[in-house]
C-alpha cells in the first residue's frame, strides 16, 4: 500500500472512531496533503471511478456525516464516493453535488475534450439511468435515477458546446463569468453593432450564410485564444474571450432565426 492510501486509511479510521463534528477543523492540514496526492493520482489514471479520495469529501461543507460514502440501501460504507451506483449492492444513489460534470464523463478538467468519448459515455449512462429503463427498481431508486439522468443530460449539454464548456470550467475555478456588468469597450461594441446591422440588412440566405461562416471563424479563433489564456491563468483575458464568444453566438442565433 502506498503512502497516499496509508494516509487515507488512517484518517478514515480516525473518523470512524470519533464521529464528532469537532474533528472537522483538525484534519485540514492533512487534507491539503491528501488533496495534492489525489490530484496526482487522478492525472495518472484515466479510469472514471479510479481512486476518488475521501479527502475531497472531507472538504465539503455538508458536515461530517458525508465525509465518507454510505449506501442507503445496504449500508455499505467506503471512502470512495460512488457516482451513481453503490459498489456493493449496485443500487442507484442520490445526486451528489460535489461530483462535477467532467468527473461524470471521466474527462480531465480541461477545455479541450474528445467529443467521441463524451457521446459514448453519455449513451452508456443513459442506458443505466433512463427513467424508461428502470421500471423494475423501487420507487426510491427510480426517483434517484430520474435525478441522475437529468444531471447527466445537463452535464452533456454543458460540455458539448464550446461556450458553455468554457463558462463551466471558469466556474469550477471560482470565476463567475456571467456578471451583469455593462461594458464600454468601443472597439468590440462597434464591431458587434456593425455585425448585427449587417445581419439585419442582409436579404438573402447566401449573404447570411457568408456572414455566418465569418462569425464561426471568429468563434474558433477566440475559442483558441481562450484556451491559451486559461491555461496560462490569465483569467481576465479569458473572461474577455468568453464575452466575445457570447456576442458571436448571439449573432449566429440571429442569423439562424432569419434563415
Amino acid at each position: 500500500m502506498n503512502k497516499a492510501t496509508k494516509l487515507v486509511v488512517s484518517i478514515s479510521t480516525l473518523f470512524r472512531q470519533t464521529r464528532s463534528s469537532t474533528f472537522r477543523c483538525n484534519p485540514i492540514p492533512t487534507i491539503a496533503i491528501i488533496n495534492s496526492q489525489t490530484h496526482l493520482r487522478r492525472r495518472e489514471s484515466l479510469e472514471p471511478n479510479g481512486l476518488r479520495f475521501a479527502g475531497r469529501v472531507f472538504c465539503s461543507e455538508s458536515g461530517v456525516k458525508r465525509s465518507f460514502f454510505k449506501c442507503w440501501n445496504c449500508g455499505f460504507s467506503s471512502e470512495k464516493v460512488a457516482f451513481l451506483f453503490c459498489d456493493s449492492c449496485r443500487s442507484i444513489q442520490p445526486v451528489d453535488d460535489s461530483v462535477d460534470y467532467f468527473q461524470i464523463f471521466g474527462l480531465e478538467k480541461k477545455y479541450e475534450i474528445d467529443d467521441g468519448i463524451l457521446e459514448g459515455k453519455y449513451k452508456d449512462w443513459q442506458k443505466k439511468l433512463h427513467p424508461d429503463l428502470v421500471h423494475n427498481k423501487s420507487k426510491k431508486e427510480r426517483d434517484y435515477a430520474a435525478e441522475q439522468s437529468a444531471k447527466v443530460t445537463e452535464a452533456c449539454r454543458t460540455l458539448t458546446k464550446r461556450l458553455s464548456r468554457a463558462m463551466y470550467i471558469m466556474k469550477l475555478n471560482g470565476i463567475n463569468v456571467n456578471e451583469e456588468d455593462t461594458i464600454t469597450d468601443p472597439a468590440l461594441l462597434m464591431e458587434i453593432m456593425e455585425l448585427r446591422e449587417a445581419i439585419a440588412e442582409a436579404n438573402d440566405s447566401n449573404e447570411l450564410n457568408q456572414i455566418r461562416s465569418q462569425v464561426q471563424e471568429k468563434l474558433k479563433q477566440w475559442s483558441d485564444s481562450f484556451v491559451k489564456a486559461f491555461e496560462s491563468q490569465r483569467f481576465d483575458e479569458a473572461v474577455k474571450c468568453i464575452q466575445r464568444m457570447t456576442y458571436y453566438e448571439r449573432a449566429c442565433e440571429e442569423i439562424v432565426k432569419k434563415l
Binding site: E180, T182, T184, M193, I242, T246, A251
Partner: protein
C-alpha cells in the same frame, strides 16, 4: 417580428386594450414594453462626427446585448434637443432604450444624469431578471453625455490652441 406575434398571441391584443397582465403567466411583457416594441420611438442614428452629438455605446456581455444611444445637444443652452437609439437585444432592452430616448428629450444634461434604471424598470414593470436591461439604458445615457462633454473639451481645446498660435 417573432416577439411581436408571440406577444400579440399571448395577450390576445389586436388593439391597444389594457389587459390584466399579471395573469399568472410569468413570461408576459407589460403593455408598455409591447407598445415601445410595436411603435418604437426614435430609432435611428445621428452623424457621429457632428459636434453637437454625443454617442453612448454600451453592451451587456452576459446576454450579448448592444445598445447605442445618441443625443443632440443645443450648444448654447446645454439642453438635449433630440435623441436616437439602436439596440440589438431582448424586448426589454429595446423598450428600455426607447424610454430613455423619450425621457432625455428637452432636459438639461445634468438632469438626465439623474435618471435611474429603477425608474425605467418601474415604468416598464420589468421583472427582476430583466433589471439589467434598464441598467444598460441608464449607462447608455451617461455614456452619451460623457462623450458629448469630451468632444466639447476637444473642440474647445483645438480652438484655444488655434487662438494662441494666431496671437
Amino acid at each position: 417580428m417573432m416577439l411581436r406575434q408571440a406577444a400579440k398571441k399571448a395577450l390576445g391584443l389586436t388593439s391597444r386594450q389594457s389587459t390584466p397582465w399579471s395573469v399568472g403567466i410569468s413570461r408576459l411583457y407589460h403593455e408598455n414594453v409591447i407598445d415601445h416594441y410595436d411603435n418604437p420611438r426614435n430609432v435611428g442614428s445621428f452623424d457621429k462626427n457632428d459636434p453637437t452629438v454625443g454617442t453612448g455605446l454600451v453592451g451587456a456581455p452576459a446576454c450579448g446585448d448592444v445598445m447605442k444611444l445618441q443625443i443632440k445637444v443645443d450648444e448654447k443652452t446645454g439642453q438635449i434637443t433630440d435623441a436616437r437609439f439602436k439596440t440589438f437585444g431582448c424586448g426589454s432592452a429595446i423598450a428600455s432604450s426607447s424610454v430613455a430616448t423619450e425621457w432625455v428629450k428637452g432636459k438639461a444634461m445634468e438632469e438626465v444624469l439623474t435618471i435611474k434604471n429603477t425608474q425605467i424598470a418601474k415604468h416598464l414593470s420589468l421583472p427582476p431578471v430583466k433589471l439589467h436591461c434598464s441598467m444598460l439604458a441608464e449607462d447608455a445615457i451617461k455614456a452619451a453625455v460623457k462623450d458629448y462633454k469630451e468632444k466639447r473639451v476637444k473642440t474647445n481645446g483645438a480652438a484655444a490652441a488655434g487662438e494662441t498660435t494666431q496671437a
